[in-house]
Structure formats: structure tokens, C-alpha cells
Amino acid sequence: MLEYSRWKYLIILLVLALSVLYAVPNAFPQDPAVQVTANRGAKVDAVLQQRVDAALKKAAVPFKSSAIEKDGNLLVRTSSDDAQSKAAEVIRDELGSSYVTALNQASTVPGWMQAVGAKSMSLGLDLRGGVYFLMQVDRQAALSKQFEATAEDIRSTLRDNRIRYTSVESMGGGSVVAKLGIGQDNAKARQLISRDMPTYQVDAVGETITVRIPQAELDKILTDAVQQNIGTLSNRINELGVAEPIIQRQGADRVAVQLPGVQDTAQAKRILGATATLEYRGVIDGNAIEARDSGNIPPEAKLYDSKDIGPDGKPLPVLLNKRVITSGEQLQTASAFFDSQSGTPAVRVRLNNIGGQRMFDYSSEHVGKRMAVVYIERVPEVKMVDGKEVRSTRTSEQVISVAVIQSTLGKEFQTTGLDSMKEASDLALLLRAGALAAPMDFIDERTIGPSLGKENIQRGLTAVAASFGFALLFFLVYYRMFGLITCLALLINLLMVFALMSVLGATMSLPGLAGIALTVGMSVDANVLINERIREELRLGLPPQKAIAEGYDRASGTILDANVTAFLAGLAMAAFGTGPLRGFGITTMLGIATSAYTAVSVSRGIATLIYGGKRKLKSVAI
């Protein structure tokens, strides 16, 4: 009549134990820390650790400990935010640009808990603050990229219309100059160009056509580049798995990014600022070493360094075509893997239709010829000139692999020749998250305090506790014994939501916390449905134990229907929302799922424990 099978109790106990295990890490505080990660070509080892320790001691900056973590980064723990930023400064000065020095929050959760995936939720920007990066778009690079593109457009327009030209070059200062071959129809060329580029100013004098890009157009190009970069940055942050970031344009050419409690800020910084991309270019036949030494480079070619070192100790040069077959921008997806054939880490890429078509066209015409993959990276450098920091950037272009085209290539192929698996996975992430429309440089990095005041946070927490307390009190008074069961179920529900959110790595903000209180407030519905149903069955004259069993059975169907629909609403918020909306949606879904389980299963288990064993139950306190 009123029974509950053993294995269901076992599941309840298991769920309870897991919930406690995964909710507990939230009780451990975090250490403000400084994280040091090696850039391409540098290494984190015991020697570096000693160097850092010595520098910190010399500068008299207190720190708790320094250790090389499992992921190969050096982590220096400090005891206060103040010591943290001082330590970061000291380390940054000491190590220079071969290492990324970043602020971090180090977990103090015991190792065995971390080993089973138990971790604490990170607190949101409103509660804990986070890290702040200010990035600036490189105006010059953004514009010169546009000039290059304009020049290429003009070239192809002339080529398509069979107008011979000797050169089309961007001159800087907003103009592109085309020199036509002798005897070509310059009026026709001018007309064609103005038709293609109606907003540009086109002048023709003799064989020379000058295309000027007006200032308004240049401003628009810059604004678009910043806007597109914001999109790319948010993609990259999503790939990093950071919830609820703030990304804002600041002024004309800057982007401010705030990230709440990131675990690995060094990686965040590297990924955010990175402009690494791949380009595929055809190899030009000819003696590259001779071309390098004589300076006699064929007009359609450009000289690149490859990864391999020649007998003279310099990198081996390669002559590549100026025209790019396809680049990272035409890419749809990328994933890293280990290529067993070449024995090196590799990236598998899939191009979009345009890129795939270009690759197909090129490779089908050039079977048996060689093609190179160029890895392009922009490395920021900080130099001290006359006691002042001078920031500059260096673009490194390196050929990472040259392969003979064996057969026609399509949309999908792979690139080998990367140094390490980490490099491969970082590159894949960057390629997936899209290329920046214009390179950006970090101009500021800070830890940032909570955006809500202490008072507000305190009030918020009090309110959440109060609202939870109200609900519990009401149930105790109104349903007595069953109220107690309901309260237990609600507390277990709360524990489960906390555990699940921690495992999922959710970011907890004040609205999120309020969301939990609300879902608890609403999840009482399932309990009310059950309790009211039991009362109803009792009124109909059923014996107490039968009434309890009937109440649970009959309410279950209603709870299912009501919760599935509410779950759909939460799913919509999580799927289409950003920031707090998404967090709210996820909280809602979790809350509904766990409350349905606790109301139907856990509370029934408890009720059976209390009332099930009694032979002659006269009445129920409900």
C-alpha cells in the first residue's frame, strides 16, 4: 500500500552524497594569485621559479607560495589583492614578453576533490569582480588591410576586363594608385572602378588612376572593424567557457572586456589578444636561398622563413605566391588532433563554400605542385626606452609546412607541423572563434572590484535567505508533518542545484542567487500539489496510507506536465539569451528538474519512512 523499494532509497542516498561532495567546494575561499604562462618558444621550469621567487624577495613583496601546476604554469599565491597586483608587476618586469603574466584566483579546494571534478562556482562581476582588459584596435593595421583589399579588388576588376596594368599599389594616406599599361583605355578603367566602388573618389591622369578613400569611409571601416572584433572576442570568450562577461566598445577604437573569476587568466589573455591565423599559399618554383641572398625576388612572389634551419644556421627560405589561396577567415570549424602519420600535433580544418571552392580550383590546377601553410602571429612587445614603456608589436610569419598537392583538395583537410598539442588546440580554438578584423593590443589590465556595493550584496544575501525562510516557515505551519517533509525536500533541492551549478562551472551572480530563491519559491508548487491531493483523498474517505500513496501517484502526472512546459520556457532563455538571461534560464531548468525529483521521489521516500511501517495508522498530520 504505502511502500517504497530499497533501490530507490539507495539512489536517494547516492544523490545526496554526490550533492554534498560537489556543493562543498563552494565553502573554500580562493587565493589571489599570479599566473605565469610561457609564450611560444619559452619554457616554465624550476629555474624560472627560482628567478621569480628571488625577484619577489628582492622587491619585498609577500607571497604565500609558488608552484608549478599540473598544466605547466607557474602559480604564485598571495594573501591579498594588493600583494597580488604588486607581485604581478614585479614578475612582469622580471620576465618580459616571453611569458604571459596574468592575475588569477587560485582554488584552495583539496586535490582529491578537484580530481573528481568538484570545483566551486565562480562569483560574478557584481559579487566578486574579476579581471578587466582594455584593448585597442591598431588603426594603421586595420586601414592598411583595407587598402590591400581595395588594391586586390582593382587588380581583379582590371584583369576581368582585360585591361593591362603594370602595378596597383596602396600608397598609404588613404589612396590606391593603379598604373595602366601603355595604350589602355583609362576612361573605361576609371568607369569600371567607380562602378565597383561608388563611395570612393576616382581620378584618372594619363595612365595613372588614383583611388581615394574619403575620411568618412575610413572612419566607417574602423568602426566596423571594432564592431566585428567585439563579435569575435565574444566568440572567443564563449569558447573559453566564461559566463557573463561584459564586452563594451569604449571610445572610437577601444574595447573593454570584464571577465568574472576566470580560472586561467593567462590563457584568457593569450586567446583574447591572439591574432594567430593560417594562410595557404602556393610555392613559386625557383631557388629561394639564391633569391634571398641576391635580393632578386620574382615579382609575384614573397620570401618567407620556414621552420627548418638550413646548414648556414639561418631558417630556410621559401618563395610563396603573393596571392593567398585561402585563409583562416574562410574557415568553418577546426579541431586539434595528433597525426599518427607525421607524428606531430595537427589541426583539422573545414572551409566554408567560398574557401572550399578556391581550394578546389587551385589544387585541381596544381596537382604535383607544392603548397605551403603560413602561420601568422602578432606578438606584442614592451621595451623600455628612456625609462618609459614603449609598446609595439611584431608580426611573425612562419611557414609551418610545405606539402606536395597529391590530389584535388576539397573543403576538408588537415595541417600538420605544429610544435605542441597545446599550440594545436589553441590554434584550433582561435580559428574556430574567428579572426580579428584588425589586430588589437592590450593597453590596460586590472583586477576589478565588485560592481555592487558591499551593502547591496549583503542585502541581497539577506533577502535570499529571508525568502527561503518564509517558504519553509509557511510549510511547517500549514502542513505540519508533511510541511516538515516538504522543507527537507526543499533543502535537498537547494543542495542539488548548488552541486549541479558547481559541476557545470556556472557563474554565480546576485540575480542568479535570486533566481535560485525564485525557483525554490516556484518549486514548492510540486509539493503543494502533492499535499493538497493527499488532503483531497483523505476527505474522500480513503484510509491515510492509501491516501498518501494516491496523492503522490495522482499528483505526479500533473507535476510532469506543468514542469515540462516551464522547463521549455527556461530552455528558451538559456538557448537564446546572453549574460544574466542565460544564467537565469539555466538556473530555472536545473531548479525545475531537481525539484520535480525531490518532490516526487525524495519526499515520498521520507513520507514512507515515517508512515509506511505503521500497521494501523489512524490519522496523518497534514
Binding site: Q248, Q250, G251, I448, R459, G460, S467, L510, M522, A566
Partner: protein, 320 residues
């Protein structure tokens, strides 16, 4: 032991008699809400509009809460103040009237005013930089919102049609949209600040509202199968039977939100407000809108709609 109870059982209020009045009132409220949104629009917050960011430096470490109070007193309402780096820097973000993208002069003069207002006694603030900042939420949010609503409508339609009947699905969706619109309309009409948290609150009203409606519909379905009575009586009976549950659930939910509203401070007030309205409207509408809709026009339900289909076919087969 007699149950402790404040709501009478066996209530038999004739909700259906009022159906034309209640539906007219609901329709009117919806029109008012839509009108309010069209005419007055929303008082969007910094999250949506963007504004101005000012970086301040103090001589000594400032008390952030004190700075917030002073800015609020000086008329910079809703300014976000954060510690910025270690020690003496603060970052202030606020909405600015009539600012334009890239309007550097305006940003600068507002920055000066902010620095003046944020200066503490014996600890003056110096403006280090100020610039126009864009909205935190992208322009694509509106489009995503439309997708989300479409997703919800299709999802509800699918699930409710499967478990209940198409008429129930349509009635439930109309009721839910009615609740969300009224809730949003309140914010347009009252001019209360509309931030991302309020949006989250309003959207979660959808979940509450559908939940409430489904519970009543569930009882309607059960009663149609078990009772011999005309649809209006069945609907009335169902609403009455679930009345105590509806009121208790809403009462407890309202209580939790009320605590957030009273004790939660500024940051949770908007969200709690949207929830309180949503809970009240959602409860009332599940009684006065959802069920009456089932008696009208093409949504009129009959016993046949809810009888298991297999039995219908058997009955048909037995006919001569």
C-alpha cells in the same frame, strides 16, 4: 486531527458566469499594455543604452559605498562604481543624456562633473580618463528574443497538443502571452528602469504562468473523463477543486519574491517587481482567462476532445 486550513474546500464559485467580463478585462489590460509599450517605450538601463565610463584616481583608498551614495545624491542615478586595480582607482559607468557615439567632448565634461561629485572630504577625485562606452547587450538581442518566443510557442504547442489537445495548447499560449505582455506593459507605463534582470524576470513569468495554467487544465482533463456534466460545469468544478492549490502556491511564491523586493536593495528590486506582477497576473489569468477561453468559439472543448481516441473508434465500430 483536523487539517489546518484557511481556504474553504468544496467552494463552488461560478467563475464561468463572469467569463465575458473577465475576458473583456483581460483584453483591455492587454491593449493598455501594448499601447503603453508603443507610446511610452521602456526606460532602458545602462546595459541596453551604453553610456560613459570614467576612471577616477584618489589620494587615499576611497570608500566605494560612500562614492555611490554621493553620486546618487548628485543626480547620477544608477551609476556603477567598481574598484579598479589595486588601491586608489575607481571605475564609474553611468548613463548620459543625449550622448552620441564617439562624442568625446561630452564624455569629457561629464567626466569632470562625475569627478567633482565623487570627491570625498579630504580625498579629492581626479579624472584620469572618460570615454563613451557602448551597450553591453548586442543589437542582436531583439532578434534572439523573437526566436526565443517562437521556440516557446512551438514547444508549448507541440507538448500540450500531444499531452492534452490542440485547443488547450492555444488557450495556454494566449494566456501566457497575455501575462508576459501585461508585465512588460507595467514597466513601460510606470517608467521604472528596465535592465537585463527585469527582462529575465519577465521571461521567467512565462514559466510560472504556463505552470499555473497547466495544473488547472490537468484537472479539467481528469474531470472531463470522469464526470457526467456539461463543459461549463466541468470547467467550473476544476477551477474550484484546484483553487486552494493555486492560491497557496502563488501565496508562497509571492512571499519569497516579496522578501527579495523588501530586503534585496536596488539591484534586485526590478526583478522582484516583475515577478510579483507576474505571479499575481499569472494566478488570476489561469482562473479567469485560460478556462473561459475553452468555452469560446473554435476553442470550445467537448468531452469527445479528451476521451482516449481508441475508445472513440471502438464506439464507432459498434454503431450500426
Amino acid at each position: 486531527m483536523k487539517p489546518f486550513n484557511v481556504f474553504p474546500y468544496d467552494s463552488n464559485i461560478d467563475f464561468m458566469r463572469l467569463r465575458w467580463i473577465s475576458l473583456s478585462v483581460a483584453f483591455l489590460l492587454m491593449v493598455v499594455a501594448l499601447g503603453g509599450m508603443a507610446v511610452r517605450g521602456f526606460n532602458f538601463s545602462l546595459d541596453f543604452t551604453g553610456g560613459i565610463g570614467v576612471e577616477l584616481r584618489y589620494d587615499k583608498t576611497p570608500d566605494v559605498d560612500r562614492v555611490r551614495e554621493q553620486l546618487d545624491a548628485a543626480g547620477f542615478h544608477g551609476a556603477q562604481v567598481q574598484n579598479f586595480g589595486a588601491g586608489n582607482d575607481l571605475l564609474v559607468r553611468l548613463q548620459a543624456e543625449g550622448k552620441q557615439e564617439g562624442d568625446a567632448d561630452k564624455a569629457s565634461s561629464i567626466g569632470d562633473a562625475v569627478a567633482k561629485a565623487a570627491s570625498l572630504a579630504g580625498n579629492p577625485a581626479e579624472k584620469r580618463s572618460s570615454s563613451v562606452i557602448s551597450a553591453q547587450v548586442g543589437k542582436d538581442l531583439a532578434l534572439k528574443g523573437v526566436y526565443a518566443v517562437l521556440f516557446v510557442i512551438i514547444g508549448f504547442l507541440g507538448y500540450i497538443s500531444l499531452r492534452f489537445e490542440k485547443k488547450f495548447a492555444v488557450a495556454a499560449i494566449i494566456t501566457t502571452l497575455h501575462d508576459v505582455l501585461i508585465c512588460a506593459g507595467w514597466f513601460a507605463l510606470s517608467g521604472h528602469e528596465f535592465d537585463l534582470n527585469v527582462l529575465a524576470g519577465i521571461l521567467s513569468v512565462m514559466g510560472f504562468s504556463i505552470n499555473d495554467t497547466i495544473v488547472v487544465f490537468d484537472r479539467v482533463r481528469e474531470n472531463f473523463r470522469g464526470m457526467r456534466a456539461d463543459p461549463v460545469t466541468v470547467l467550473n468544478k476544476s477551477v474550484n477543486q484546484t483553487l486552494s492549490r493555486t492560491v497557496i502556491t502563488s501565496f508562497v511564491a509571492f512571499l519569497t519574491v516579496l522578501a527579495l523586493y523588501i530586503y534585496g536593495g536596488d539591484s534586485l528590486r526590478g526583478m522582484a517587481e516583475s515577478q510579483m506582477i507576474g505571479i499575481v497576473i499569472g494566478t488570476v489569468s489561469s482562473i479567469f482567462v485560460a478556462c473561459p477561453l475553452l468555452t469560446m468559439g473554435f476553442l470550445k472543448v467537448t468531452k469527445q476532445d479528451l476521451m482516449p481516441k481508441a475508445r472513440d473508434e471502438e464506439a464507432l465500430a459498434r454503431r450500426p
